[in-house]
């Protein structure tokens, strides 16, 4: 499927992504950092450019970023079976850790001490969501267009419709309100990363041959 990329065994793919899944807390961008360390720096399967390109594709589609990245890299190194192995490897650690917690720790959740601890954590998460919103808002180009689109989206979800409609409405409105010259976009670095899937598999092989 991807000519120019080396083949990596399914077991190796699974194990690599299993390690990545196990070592990441919080997912998303945190997991991208671990993945970059494991794939680009430690194993040198990918170049920095290839990783950024995959990252931009993984974040351009909906869903769990880490799983999207695993799918792209797995497909690159082992076709569809490789993609399956990488995705399974990413999911398995969280799946089994959660089952262990639910299986063994759930009875203790109602113990007053544990409940108080978890309540404190849950309340702090609301602060964390506010923080995520704050950092996200700083990255979005702010003008009356995005402000209007965002306000409409918020109105949609507050009126009781499914939250997905807020995303669809605000995204659609913002898409069509933008100036056609394409100058309205994400601030700074992100704008230059829109090269998508296509550029994968072209830079890496050359770099790795140089190393070997």
């Amino acid at each position: 499927m991807c000519t120019g990329a080396q083949r990596i065994s399914l077991a190796n793919l699974f194990w690599t992504f299993f390690r990545i899944g196990l070592m990441t807390f919080g997912g998303g961008v945190a997991m991208a950092a671990v993945m970059r360390y494991e794939l680009v720096l430690k194993r040198q399967w990918l170049s920095e450019d290839d990783f950024l390109s995959a990252m931009s594709t993984a974040t351009a589609v909906p869903g769990v970023i880490a799983v999207n990245l695993a799918f792209l890299q797995g497909q690159r190194f082992g076709g569809l079976p490789g993609a399956g192995a990488a995705v399974l490897g990413t999911i398995c650690p969280s799946f089994f850790v959660i089952l262990l917690i639910v299986g063994f720790a759930l009875p203790y959740f109602d113990h007053p001490t544990v409940a108080a601890f978890l309540k404190g954590c849950a309340v702090a998460v609301s602060g964390q969501i506010a923080f995520a919103t704050y950092t996200f808002a700083r990255r979005v180009r702010r003008n009356w267009r995005t402000g209007l689109a965002c306000a409409v989206g918020l109105t949609v979800v507050l009126s009781g419709l499914h939250p997905i409609w807020a995303v669809v409405t605000a995204a659609g409105l913002s898409y069509f309100l933008q100036e056609p010259n394409g100058s309205v976009g994400i601030n700074d670095s992100e704008q230059s990363q829109g090269s998508g899937l296509r550029s994968q598999g072209q830079v890496t092989s050359a770099k790795q041959e140089g190393d070997a």
Partner: protein, 176 residues
Amino acid sequence: MSQTLSSLFVSFCLIGIGAYGGGLVTVPLIQHEITENHDWLSQPEMGRIVAIAQMTPGPIAINAATFVGYRVAGIGGAVVATTAVVLPSITILFVLSHIVGRVRSSESLARFRTGMHTGVLSLLLFAVWSYGRGVIAAAPELGIAVAAFLALVAFDRRIHPLIVIVAAGLVGLLVF
């Protein structure tokens, strides 16, 4: 039982589609599906799930899907919910990787991304309100939430966010 499994599947597919940007963006969607659309779990339990999902390895959406699926319908539910949450994006990527050469246009991609970012921002603002309303009942909770937010802003990139969450848990031991 099988009806529960199929509603789990549909709910988590929706969550998987709506979770653009990953991480905490999934929280309002999960909350809507779990506590409002289906009445599967109570709001306090939802708060616990998110807190535990934050403290365990792996993406939050996967952790939450496994947790909710198991609570609603046992192991089978955990497998169905976890599969459903990743299925939409994998399908999209699979299709996209075959046709991307033709649809790739960096201008429309940039517009699309700005559009989606705006959409996600409205969702996040909603999440602050809806999740906050669920867990903040009185002054102590509000104090912890505001302190956590300020700590995260103050120590951005210098400490792991998990430290703030665990510290709030320890404060919770004293307060609640």
